[in-house]
Symmetry: C2
Subunit: 343 residues, 2 copies
């Protein structure tokens, strides 16, 4: 591989400059992606290996980022274990028959990568041949996947999910156990196919109090990281609004903790400690600001990041469709340039 | 007034037990409220003084809480300055013609309490005669109101609002200035009519990084608290997901800081310091848990709250419709009882 600075930073090793990639770096902000979406739905793209590989590689070619992330949706393995979903435009994943009872959980199947998601294996094999940067495989984390499965779609308050935790802990634990097995096999399958790093998205876990996280979620996340420990790739754990949970995150077993924009990176670094690398954390909304403002904020993040052993530049959440491709290209160049002088 | 323990706690004075009220304590979880809503819309209720007073008093009678909060919607003053809105069931406030330009801001009127919201004055006068606990008047804060006005409704990412801050600071500042004047007059009008405390809801401000809060929002909030400083009533400032902003909140001039459930109360107390009282912070979702769990968590909050000079028990956000009236009644009793022994 030509460019391994992302992997080196994940491993807290010295790099020539600050590595960078962007969550949702393949997406609607790209005219080429919008063209492809005229022909295929998001989920269709994930099932056609050469199109999926093309979409995954586009931001690497266009922006010069230091890692690719498999183009997919966090709901893909949920569909594979027998819970059908639909991605509704402007809404997100919607599930007609949400999980409410132990019977609902027991009806979910076992997961088999080759059989259920052979096309993902094929996509990763293409990417492995074509990419000169590492490929990040990924999965949703159990709480975040469960929240869609229980609520039936995106939710502001995650009330049904929390109610299940509190009132039906046996259903909750069964659902966590089922998701743990699925996620471990799914991540394992991606690494076997050629993924060189993994990110676990616990996007909505920031809705939980530290006590609820510790009691109802952390054990499942720990078991997942334990289950993939034998895979010799860096493992990233990320969620939004997780400021008060950061001190617990190193216990998960992750090598890298993703930080959202609400916590200054210097403070986040203190909370997670020096034994894990950090990734983040520009507010994706700032990409709509005039360039000097973006540059100033990127500088601050790089300056704070270099105080920590291992920093990968990223956004605090995914790229929005309103962002200009040129802005992200310029930002990538700036990070590489300023990152070089600042190290 | 028979019961002033809420006001005493706001002023960091000694109380006989821990005072308690609940955000959205008048609402759909109450069968009586649901009956009234069959006849009137939410906004209609706010315009009919005797019905509005009845709805405001109901939770005081039913739960035994130590304060009433004027039944209203944060959008009421926004409608009064000339931006029509509609409360859509299951969505929230929706605005057909959102604010995007300086012309849009300049088209908003001046606010006149007596002329625009005479019925609110009348409602407060009724409540003043009937209540034996303090009445809290309230307003939305400028960021939170602006977010609805700019987005056109509730929003997950507040992208248009942030884009206005970054790209059109002159429009943003004009909007803040207009809202400041409106909010100050609105709060003043409520106190003149008889409100004995004020709460400013900056519900969505937690979407901002500490830098953005400091630069684009804190100055406006400070000017509002300065504008109502002459009113001799306790002033509360509250938002959700504000863990990283808490250290800035005492600068606003508020007497009490509302805390959401994500930050343990002991930690929140350290961040805001001893010169302000604190209010909170049970996760409203916990009200769906079995009673022993609710009791245990309420205990922890009271135990942590008593370490701080001035604590008012509340939820970390509003009551959900799925909660049982009996649960809140039992919780109120428990807080008064356990709060007495623990002080």
């Amino acid at each position: 591989m030509k460019n391994d600075r992302f992997l080196r930073a994940c491993r807290q090793e010295k790099t020539d400059t600050v590595p960078v990639w962007y969550m949702r770096q393949a997406g609607r902000y790209q005219p080429e992606y919008r063209e492809i979406r005229k022909k295929y739905s998001l989920i269709e793209i994930t099932t056609i290996p050469d199109v999926c590989a093309e979409v995954t590689m586009l931001p690497v070619q266009q922006l010069g980022v230091d890692a690719a992330i498999l183009f997919s949706d966090i709901m893909v393995p949920v569909g594979a274990i027998g819970l059908p979903f639909e991605i509704k435009s402007g809404v997100g994943p919607v599930i007609e028959t949400p999980i409410r009872t132990l019977d609902d959980v027991n009806r979910l199947h076992d997961f088999d990568m080759e059989q259920d998601l052979g096309y993902v294996v094929e996509t990763i094999q293409i990417l492995n041949r074509e990419l000169d940067v590492p490929l990040i495989g990924f999965s949703g984390a159990p709480f975040t996947l469960a929240s869609y499965m229980v609520e039936g779609g995106p939710s502001r308050n995650h009330l049904k999910t929390k109610a299940m935790m509190y009132r039906a802990p046996e259903v909750w634990e069964a659902l966590m156990a089922r998701l743990e097995k699925t996620i471990v096999h799914y991540l394992e399958g991606q690494v076997k196919a050629g993924a060189q790093a993994l990110q676990i998205f616990d996007s909505w876990v920031g809705t939980l109090s530290p006590l609820d996280y510790k009691r109802y979620v952390l054990p499942a996340v720990k078991r997942i990281f334990a289950g993939i420990q034998h895979l010799d790739v860096p493992k990233i754990y990320f969620g939004v609004g997780t400021g008060e949970l950061l001190t617990q995150f190193p216990e998960t077993g992750a090598d890298v903790i993703g930080i959202d924009w609400r916590v200054p990176l210097s403070e986040a670094g203190k909370r997670v400690g020096d034994n894990v690398a950090i990734q983040g954390n520009l507010d994706p909304a700032v990409l709509l600001a005039p360039w000097p403002e973006i540059e100033q904020r990127a500088k601050t993040i790089i300056d704070q990041g270099k105080q920590h052993p291992g920093h990968i530049f990223n956004l605090g959440h995914g790229v929005f469709p309103d962002v200009e491709v040129d802005t992200l290209r310029r930002l990538t160049e700036f990070i590489h340039e300023y990152g070089r002088t600042s190290l």
